[in-house]
Symmetry: C2
Subunit: 338 residues, 2 copies
């Protein structure tokens, strides 16, 4: 292993998969050989990696012979079908889908928060949902000292959450708008350009979306604390690639905005952007392309005695998906678990 690891990326041609290749390269991840895997239809596509090109191969159950690390981002159905075979073949799978997140024996990990959970892995590690990563990166440093009782989250989610086709749909609809035409809704039931859509994924019986339920269930699993209650409204907005969240916390004890700023300022992976006098606050355009979770608008709540409010933004394709997955792999190496 001294020269590195044999790495496979499943779903390599998707928006997250392409970002995984970039992150592996940018972080000089010790890759001895790279296998880019995608659907039959994408086989033969060439993807840039370390100044060369990698030819995409069709993803099969047998694609993982000799693979040490398999990064999956090909959707839940593919993960459920293929990831167990990859693990049986000896690869450690870091899966970006929701397929295994809540399964016992599958660590659900944000490396800055619960790296110790990796110890018990049985071949599959799950990457949390992007909305959960953004939320927890922005509140965990506060939770550690003042414990969150309840949290209310409203999201402002980018179209890249729907993959490359989300970005293309937004651009095409914006063109319609500017040319005075009613945008032709392609990807979503209504246009997303000049609009916001109050759902992500789909709406279940009972009226919640899976995205909203994940914010609660994944948070309790990652924190190992079922007392933390999270409620959310998830909304798609016409932004290309970074998600934002308005977060209102009810804490067990009052902390001041200055204390919160100090805690967040010392947290790895978090950057405090919070100086209204200089027009500094987080926006998704600032977060796009970067690794940090930006946090600002930190303020004590006037309506709730132990309340604290803040606004956070994060590149959804990087820390919300590809970067967190690669950081999990780095942590596995550090702990000799890969």
């Amino acid at each position: 292993m001294s020269q590195g690891y044999s790495v496979a990326v499943a779903g390599a041609t998707g928006a997250v998969g392409r970002e995984m290749l970039r992150v592996l390269e940018q972080r000089s991840f010790p890759v001895s050989s790279l296998r880019a895997l995608a659907s039959e239809r994408s086989a033969g596509t060439r993807l840039p990696f370390r100044g060369e090109e990698v030819a995409v191969e069709a993803l099969r159950e047998g694609s993982f012979e000799g693979v040490d690390l398999a990064l999956f981002s090909a959707g839940g159905t593919v993960s459920r079908r293929v990831a167990p075979a990859a693990a049986r073949a000896g690869a450690v799978v870091v899966d970006n889908s929701s397929a295994f997140r809540m399964q016992p024996g599958v660590p659900l990990v944000i490396p800055e928060i619960n790296p110790d959970a990796l110890a018990g892995h049985e071949g599959i590690v799950a990457n949390p949902n992007c909305s959960t990563i953004l939320f927890l990166m922005a509140v965990h440093p506060i939770h550690r000292v003042a414990r969150i009782g309840r949290a209310v989250v409203a999201s402002y989610q980018a179209v890249s959450g729907s993959g490359q086709k989300g970005i293309e749909a937004l651009r095409s609809e914006m063109r319609d708008l500017l040319e005075g035409r009613e945008p032709r809704a392609g990807l979503y039931p209504y246009p997303i350009a000049g609009n916001v859509l109050p759902f992500v994924d789909r709406i279940l019986e009972g009226g919640h979306t899976p995205e909203e339920l994940k914010l609660h269930s994944e948070t309790t699993k990652i924190l190992g604390d079922p007392r933390v209650k999270v409620t959310a409204t998830c909304v798609r907005v016409p932004v290309e690639r970074a998600h934002s969240e308005a977060i209102h916390l009810e804490l067990e004890r009052k902390i001041t905005a200055d204390e919160a700023r100090a805690l967040l300022g010392a947290a790895p992976g978090v950057r405090v952007v919070d100086d209204p006098g200089r027009n500094l606050f987080p926006t998704p355009r600032q977060a796009a392309g970067g690794d940090d979770v930006l946090v600002g608008r930190i303020r004590e709540d006037l309506a709730f005695p132990t309340g604290l409010a803040l606004f956070a933004a994060m590149d959804q394709l990087r820390k919300g998906a590809a970067l967190n997955a690669v950081q999990i792999a780095e942590e596995l190496i550090r702990r000799s678990l890969l």
Copy 2:
């Protein structure tokens, strides 16, 4: 008065002022004569009204001789300077700015909610802020039967809240984006196209925006109930003219989503749009140009025992400003207070 009222619109050339003329015409408000007033710079502009054109006159303190009803939407500074003179001249002022809203003796009115407050007016009636109108129209029918203890609001506010120049800035920045240029932020400190900006108006000492504080203070004045606590994060989104809000309520007693739907369905000015199976939920594009406040995504909160969540959208220039002002005037006539 049998042939109608002499009406003045102050700020007639702005986005809200133009909408006021449209609403007066569409609702066949009994106008015997119309005076369109604006800044010196706009004097001479011709505005359409009832198939004819009205020439804009420069707004002066003396502009209100013989005027029965003065609809103001020219900003707080102008209102503070001129509205008291208009009232002294005998006009009843309905003011859309924040200048007088919290002043004792000035009714702050949403006609569907607290029309009785008009009785005590002393010449000036205030129109609530658009965010407050949207919030209260969407929750008041529930509050009446189950009392709101606490509410958390996250807004998705259209650029028309910044007037016509907001709409123009968004279009011009969208053009930049589509042509591959970094959008030139004109109106706001950062681009609004392809972005969201987590503030409306400005950020005060303490970290709150006036928009957020108004949601609490105006709500308690309109409901006449200081026990209701509202906390908010107000966010500008790249939408042209309708505001939306994600609203999470903690009620004094549990009500089901079906009960909430029935209460909202019976409320004047509210339209329930809530059938996920048929892709029915509110969006700002659906609300734009219409009079109703659209409410959907109604669901019982899984994290909070007496919680209820919903999503609402409303044309900010109509029910959020011009329509509510004209409805106030209609209610004044009905009560012989004009």
